[in-house]
């Protein structure tokens, strides 16, 4: 609906008469088309002659049953008399869509326009005399219906009973933006007046973005075109255009709508095409940054011959322009240099932009080898951080001092951990640096990949001070076989921040210790205290962790999974120099018995390294739902190797149901490139329609505020990340949010993976609940082994269906699972 009150009576009449002529033309066209449908059977021919070719394209963008003239008519009606609902309008006007002949009922109809799609109207109005329209406009007194239920509409676009709200200014403008198939809500808030603005907004926003609440939310600029709007900011458009839009955008984007921000579609191609495989490799490695927000522990960086250690970067968070600082000293893998540099830059920028903090929230330890840059971790929080250390050593020194000072920043780990202290000294850092430099730059990446063994089961949301990253992040050994890590001071200082950079999916490399031995412990639940006790007796026949010194200094650690964040870990003391340590210690967890039953007990043994680079020596996982608590005997368990990073050792049932499920639809539209007319790239777009989730667990123990984030791997840049709005207080949120990523060629889809993650929003940080990785699950991307191409059968099946569906939506309900994120996603 457009506000046409500025028109004089005379003008309105003039326009009406024009519209009248148009209606006549439309009518005769309609008749012609009807005849054609009857006489011609050739589908293609029909498409030509009926004009369907046009309407089909149009409906991708606009709600195709609304012609401009309809809008104006409606607006006039509105101006002259009582507000006319679209429903009424549909009843007034001839159903022009008849000759549109669109078979596509899948077009999402904004609730506002639902009325128009009523099937039963179609027949009714086919023969309606267009002249009636005008009479009707004068005299109609249609009954008002109830405000529609936008939620219903979202799913049942064609159902009846949807009407618009009938308030003066509530009538949504039929500004073109409406026509964008969008998420429910927004349609309401389109503003006609700012047609151009809206347009700009829509385009600027690229695709999906969280919509506002319901039709009531007639906020400005809330239209969330379902990703159909290719960002005019896309690189293919002319500069001027881009400039224009960009100019418009800032004005338009409603600051309150902070979901606007990272909604740019990924330029997937650019990511890919820029690099050779090697670069890709580098990138991946790069992605293994040590992101562990929690841990104040230093994150280590690997020296893969990547020389770009942006120590400082650590400091320069705000600028987001972290440049590799260390360029020389280390050995070089010349060829990697460039790629690393770029990677580092990328990460650096990302890191800079990540305001970690609060973001620490996503506390999942990304333990990975971090390739240079990223760990740069934004030490944003670290005040007064130097900008550019003149020398590495100097930087390290500064960092080390800061590290201790900035402990508090490090998120939320309240308890200092042993490891952290160990890293505290600058001396160590220097040492590590030295070590690094001695490493051969040619350490292969693949080795590294292998070396980084399974990650300790997601240490997500670790709010407790257990930073222990312990091994988690970054304690890697400087062994010859694995690439070394440099403990970046930055990493250490970083804490809390996530270097935007990402990815570290892997846990730190623990060295190549083959797990052996067993552990004896007993379990008991003390009803009176409400505590769960684990009496750790001893371990026998442990592996040697420190091969140089032929010793291990083991300790035992326990987690209750999956809610590690809430409960944290418990550790025994360290028994030095023994492979058969005796503990006789009790580890306690305060937890309700019922809650306990939904957890897994993870008992792991670690070698405590002097430098805090603890080595994993084995673990045991017990599903407490199947545990007989009356069994308080001491039991012996054989230590197992690390479970794969992908899923925690959870019972199958838990695995499926424990994290909830998501209904998601996908489609790939090939060759919808929106590049400039002069050069058409044959790329398509992937559309991901996040519909809803069910049975999300309460990771925090209280009702959750879920939201969904999405990125397309291997692109882990900020641009790739999109997210929905937060739905408060529900374990069964409905998002109905579509995200679009363009720039894909069909072959890219075989190498990419859409990582969708569900989070529980908390004031300070978000907690990972579960996610999906939609891809082919081949384990490889562009020829490189990657951990995130690990789609389950169901996930891969859905992806496959999308590839084969030729632009049609494919949908499935998939169980969410836990995994280490391929990148550190900040909010």
């Amino acid at each position: 609906m457009i506000d046409l009150s500025f028109l004089t009576e005379e003008e309105q009449e003039t326009i009406l008469s024009v519209l009248q002529r148009d209606a006549e033309l439309k009518k005769s066209e309609e008749q012609r088309v009807q005849k054609l449908h009857q006489s011609l059977s050739n589908r293609d021919q029909l498409k030509y002659l009926t004009g369907d070719w046009f309407y089909e394209t149009k409906q991708l963008r606009h709600q195709d049953r609304i012609h401009g003239s309809d809008i104006i008519l409606a607006s006039m009606r509105h101006t002259t008399q009582k507000p006319l609902t679209i429903l009424e309008l549909s009843q007034i006007l001839p159903e022009e869509s008849s000759f549109v002949g669109s078979d596509n009922k899948d077009v999402f109809v904004p609730p506002l326009l639902c009325g128009l799609l009523q099937e039963n109207n179609t027949d009714r109005y086919q023969n309606q005399d267009p002249y009636d329209t005008f009479k009707d406009i004068q005299s109609t007194t249609k009954q008002r219906k109830n405000p529609f239920n936008s939620e219903l509409c979202a799913h049942q676009a064609l159902e009846e009973d949807h009407t618009l709200e009938q308030t003066e200014d509530a009538l949504p403008s039929f500004d073109c933006s409406i026509s964008y198939a969008s998420n429910l809500r927004q349609d309401a808030s389109l503003e006609s007046q700012d047609a151009s603005k809206n347009g700009a907004v829509s385009t600027g926003s690229s695709d999906s973005f969280a919509d506002t609440d319901g039709p009531e939310g007639r906020q400005t600029n809330s239209s969330a075109p379902r990703g159909i709007l290719k960002p005019l900011l896309s690189s293919s458009f002319t500069d001027t255009l881009v400039a224009d839009l960009e100019v418009q955008n800032p004005v338009i984007v409603d600051p309150s709508n902070d979901t606007w921000t990272d909604r740019r579609q990924v330029r997937f191609n650019s990511m890919v095409s820029q690099g050779s495989v090697e670069r890709q490799k580098g990138k991946e490695l790069g992605e293994h940054s040590l992101l562990d927000f929690d841990s104040s522990a230093p994150s280590e960086m690997e020296d893969n011959g990547l020389n770009n250690y942006d120590l400082v970067g650590l400091g320069e968070t705000s600028a987001g322009t972290q440049r590799p600082v260390l360029n020389q000293s280390q050995e070089d893998a010349q060829d990697d240099d460039v790629s690393c540099k770029n990677e580092a830059k990328l990460w650096g920028q990302e890191a800079g932009r990540h305001r970690v903090l609060g973001d620490v929230s996503e506390r999942w330890h990304a333990k990975c080898r971090s390739p240079a840059g990223s760990s740069l971790v934004s030490t944003e929080q670290d005040p007064g951080y130097d900008d550019s250390p003149t020398s590495i050593m100097a930087a390290l020194k500064r960092l080390s001092t800061r590290m201790t000072a900035s402990r508090s920043l490090e998120d939320l780990t309240s308890q200092p951990s042993e490891e952290r202290t160990k890293y505290g000294s600058g001396k160590q850092m220097n040492q590590s640096l030295d070590d690094v430099s001695s490493l051969s730059p040619s350490a292969s990446y693949s080795k590294q990949l292998k070396a980084s063994v399974s990650v300790p089961v997601l240490q997500l949301d670790e709010t407790d001070s257990d930073s222990t990253f312990d091994a988690s992040l970054g304690r890697r050994r400087y062994t010859g076989s694995s690439t070394s890590n440099i403990s970046l001071s930055s990493g250490m200082a970083s804490m809390s921040s996530v270097s935007g950079s990402i990815s570290s999916i892997f846990h730190a490399d623990f060295g190549n210790v083959e797990v052996q031995g067993n552990i004896q412990f007993a379990m008991n639940y003390i009803q009176k205290l409400g505590e769960f006790h684990i009496f750790v007796v001893h371990c026998r026949d442990l592996a040697v962790a420190d091969t140089k010194k032929h010793r291990s200094d083991p300790y035992v650690k326990c987690y209750l999974l999956p809610d590690k964040s809430k409960l944290g870990k418990r550790k025994t003391t360290v028994k030095k120099k023994t492979l058969n340590p005796n503990y006789s210690e009790i580890l306690r967890f305060k937890i309700f018995k019922e809650l306990l039953r939904t957890h897994n007990l993870n008992v792991s043994v670690w070698h405590n390294d002097v430098f805090g680079r603890n080595t994993f020596l084995g673990e045991v996982d017990l599903d407490l739902s199947e545990w007989d608590f009356s069994n308080t005997q001491i039991n012996e368990y054989t230590l197992k190797a690390r479970v794969s990073a992908q899923t925690p050792a959870v019972s199958p049932s838990r695995q499926v149901d424990g994290r909830g499920q998501m209904r998601v639809a996908l489609r790939f539209l090939p060759q919808t490139s929106h590049s400039s007319r002069t050069s058409r790239m044959e790329t398509g777009e992937v559309q991901i329609w996040v519909k809803d989730c069910k049975s999300l667990p309460s990771v925090r123990g209280v009702i959750i505020d879920p939201f969904v984030k999405c990125t397309v791997l291997p692109d882990t840049s900020r641009k790739s990340r999109q997210k929905t709005r937060v739905v408060k207080r529900t374990a069964n949120p409905m998002f109905n949010h579509t995200m679009v990523y363009d720039g894909f060629r069909a072959e890219d889809l075989r190498e990419a993976c859409v990582e969708i993650t569900v989070w529980d929003h908390d004031r300070l940080n978000s907690h990972f609940i579960g996610g999906l990785r939609l891809g082919l699950g081949t384990g490889q991307s562009y020829g490189v082994d990657v951990p995130w191409m690990d789609s389950t059968t169901a996930e891969a099946h859905l992806w496959q269906r999308m590839l084969q569906s030729d632009g049609e939506w494919v949908e499935d309900v998939l169980p969410l699972r836990i995994f280490l994120m391929a990148m550190a996603m900040s909010k």
Binding site: V18, E29, K35, N42, H67
Partner: protein
Amino acid sequence: MSDGDYDYLIKFLALGDSGVGKTSFLYQYTDGKFNSKFITTVGIDFREKRVVYKSRDADGSSGRGQKIHMQLWDTAGQERFRSLTTAFFRDAMGFLLLFDLTNEQSFLNVRNWMSQLQIHAYCENPDIVLCGNKCDLSDQRAVREEEARELAEKYGVPYFETSAANGDNVNQAVDVLLDLIMKRMERCVDKSWIPDGTVRTNGPLHSDLSENSEGNKCAC
């Protein structure tokens, strides 16, 4: 005129700053006449015309002709009608973007019009023909041809220097646009299907659609 006796209904829309000559341009095209009085268009208007389109085969010989009924929307250039006119963008299959060769501002605004189109049109890359109108007023010219051509090339659109007053290039511009649409249509539907039609008799008065001068090859 709207007797349904045609093969295709094609809708175009003329847009551009106020006073560049959209109404005159269309009037010249449909009626072959020119009225120098300036009457600003109230919001929106349209004209119709029946033409015959002959597609060119690959070998250059003229193909069958199809009857096209053209609905040519004429939009008001004035700012105050902007919200109204943009609502009609979605309905048009092709656009004639006009500016005034004697008015530099109108040329500078072409950029804005282009973005408006990209936002509101039925797709992101609609067929557009850029026309620098009033080329007959050579002594008042304020925009150089090279500049305009450059801009047109940047956008990848054909450019014509037209005159609604004396008819220069008016037909050509519209013909080119029509050709673009027909070609696009073919691409959209089925590349192999060729309209099945013998050359029909030219029903309406004007069948002035000759082989287009641009010589566009079929892009299929």
